[in-house]
Amino acid sequence: MLSIKNLHAVVEGKEILKGINLEIKPGEIHAIMGPNGSGKSTLANVLAGHEKYEVTEGEITFMGENLLDQAAEDRARNGLFLSFQYPIEIPGVSMVNFLKTAVNEHRKHKGLDPLTASQFLKLMEEKKKVVEISSQLTNRSVNEGFSGGEKKRNEIFQMAMLEPRLSILDETDSGLDIDALRVVANGVNALKRDDNATIVVTHYQRLLDYIIPDHVHVMYNGKIVKSAGKELAYELEEKGYDWIKKELGE
């Protein structure tokens, strides 16, 4: 589904990603862990196509096509979803209007007719249950006045609405209390299918108690320095990132 080969990327002239290799198959959950500044969020943003990040070397194939050729909106329409670490507010734009536009852009891309207002509202009602989000939130402007937890929940709600092939959750657990964490994780698990995949980018092992990864990768200094099964997450929790640094001889 996703294949990353020798990916290098720079931000404002500084190289952050220094040769990432990663293979993700349908049905898999991958966790990417690592200390602050290791390049985890950069990787998420590069995949989503943020203009600030410039790819200088390497290739990415997504669903059999060259991802780097595609504009951010095309990547999204092809099924790549990023749950933002800091979802931005868009004042005056209602969640309903925003999501209806997004859903119908996805449908147009697939050659489907746009949903009517009533079909759309029905779909929204259905998906709201997945993340236990209230109508109060969906009736507001995009992320405006949302608490940190509400914003993250809203991200997963959008993920449920758009049914992506590959979801990247960028530090979705940060700023969540334990109840919100559970709700978000349940949402992600409920959306899990054989034909979609998830990348969980996280600093802590905590979220991985709820979303069980098939593979865990540790990023350090712009590279994936260690990959293993879910047990790696526990080892990290126990020994801390210094252990990795030591292993690398630093």
Binding site: H50, A72, A76, F84, I88, P91, G92, F98, A102
Partner: protein, 481 residues
């Protein structure tokens, strides 16, 4: 240039779609301005003596006046002798029914989305269509007449209802009010007149659509709306012009009088040709709009969406004379490329317990300059006056300017006046967020800008709001971030 910028530029550089010219024989008078021209206009309109006197007084006053230079605008010198002050599409004499209106004219207004055939018209809006110096057609006149509502061209009102016109003309905007009002009073051509009798709620939206067609002409229309005691009317105004390399002058006057407990809502979507990307051509829009809340508990509300014109100089104002009267001003002003706008309002509190509300949303893009200028004045006897002003500016790119000039003059200690202002930019992160959900940059910008302007757009009548949203999206161009 980034991909986003390129796309944004491509999309927003779409041509001004109202820029066509109607090929119709036009009765146009020679360029230049003097007393004879004023007399000629009056003669062509078969006006009574008192009307000509009004024009001449205004003209003589205008000669002594100077163009205002206090606005934050760079106005190239205007040669008033190089403009023709009267242009009328040639029609058969005296129209009795729509069948007699020239097909070319009907087609023009159809193309603008203003069908003049009543049966084809969306229910609920009566239109007075004005091209260059004359009113082409007023729809639904008969239906309105049943309720005693007068809705007709200004020229017709001067002929048919001279007493009403005489009584109210110049009440809100005296001929000597300012340079452009004086010029308008001297040479005004046509416009709309509307009178809502006591206790009548006008059953449909009234609207005037102004179209400049002929070259080298100015448009000087005049609108007068009188709402008698306990009446209500919602009025819409739209305007477009062909794309021409030269600048054309538009100096209009709108007067509103609201009597006891009357309410008037006046909405404008101003889409005069803004000039091209390099600032060539476009309309100079110098407009005086003022309403008087004469009666107690009366209310006047101005809503404007300003996207057109090379230069806009416009301050729809309310004089709150009646006790408990209320004035409102909602504005979205968008400037792009080389456009300049200096627009805002004046709220003059004279009666007791008067209230005013100002919501202004400026959007600047390209290398344009957009200024809000507003005056809130509380006179000595205006006890318990209340004003709330909110002035927001949105900047797109780094070459445009947004300016705010709020003036407050308060002579009564019981007044409560509040002013809030914000300046913001559309951020790349907002656009990226939309992109990541499958929404392209063009739609994202339109969505964000419309969200920003929502509070004002919501005040527009439904059909107008949809048009205005599209217009905002179309009028945008330039870099983001």
């Amino acid at each position: 240039m980034t991909e986003q910028d390129k796309l944004l530029e491509q999309v927003t550089n779409e041509d001004y779609k109202f820029g066509f010219v109607t090929d119709i024989e036009t009765d146009i008078i020679d360029i230049g301005l003097n007393e004879d021209v004023v007399r000629l206009i009056s003669l062509k309109k078969e006006e009574p003596e008192w009307m000509l006197d009004f024009r001449l007084k205004a003209y003589r006053k205008w000669l002594e006046m100077k163009a205002p230079d206090w606005a934050y605008l760079k106005v190239p010198p205007i040669d008033y002798q190089s403009i023709s002050y009267y242009a009328a599409p040639k029609q058969k004499k005296k129209l009795n029914s729509l069948d007699e209106v020239d097909q070319e004219l009907l087609d023009t207004f159809n193309k603008l989305g203003i069908p003049l055939e009543e049966q084809k018209h969306l229910a609920g809006v009566a239109v007075d269509a004005v091209m260059d110096s004359v009113s082409v057609k007023t729809t639904f006149k008969e239906v309105l007449a049943e309720k005693g509502i007068i809705f007709c061209s200004f020229s017709e009102a001067v002929r048919e209802f001279p007493d009403l016109v005489k009584k109210y003309l110049g009440n809100a905007v005296p001929y000597a009010d300012n340079y452009f009002a004086a010029l308008n009073s001297a040479v005004f051509s046509d416009g709309s007149f509307c009178y809502i009798p006591k206790g009548v709620r006008c059953p449909m939206e009234l609207s005037t659509y102004f179209r400049i067609n002929a070259a080298n002409t100015g448009q000087f229309e005049r609108t007068l709306i009188v709402a008698d005691d306990d009446s209500y009317v919602s009025y819409l105004e739209g305007c477009t012009a062909p794309m021409r390399d030269e600048n054309q002058l538009h100096a209009a006057v709108v007067e509103i009088i609201a009597m006891e407990r009357a309410e008037v809502k006046y909405s404008t979507v101003q889409n005069w040709y803004p000039g091209d990307k390099n600032g060539k051509g476009g309309i100079y829009n110098f407009v005086t709009k003022r309403g008087i809340c004469r009666g107690d508990y009366s209310k006047i509300s101005w809503t404007q969406v300003e996207t057109g014109s090379a230069i806009t100089w416009k301050y729809p104002s309310c004089v709150l004379m009646g006790d408990h009267s209320k004035g409102e001003f909602y504005s979205v002003a968008l400037t792009n490329h080389h456009q300049q706008a200096d627009t805002g309002t004046k709220m003059i509190h004279i009666g007791k317990n008067t209230k005013s509300l100002i919501v202004s949303k400026g959007i600047s893009a390209g290398v344009s300059n957009n200024s809000y200028r507003g005056l809130v004045k509380v006179s000595k006897r205006a006890d318990n006056a209340r004003n709330f002003s909110q002035c927001d500016s949105l900047l797109m790119g780094s070459k445009c300017g947004a300016h705010t000039f709020p003036y407050i003059e308060c002579a009564n200690k019981s007044a409560i006046l509040e002013h809030e202002a914000t300046t913001s930019k559309i951020s790349e992160d907002q656009i990226f967020y939309c992109n990541q959900r499958g929404i392209d940059t063009e739609d994202a910008v339109a969505m964000i800008v419309n969200g920003y302007a929502k509070e004002v757009l919501n005040k527009l009548p439904m059909e107008f709001a949809v048009e205005a949203q599209k217009l905002l999206a179309l009028s945008l161009e330039g870099s983001v971030g």
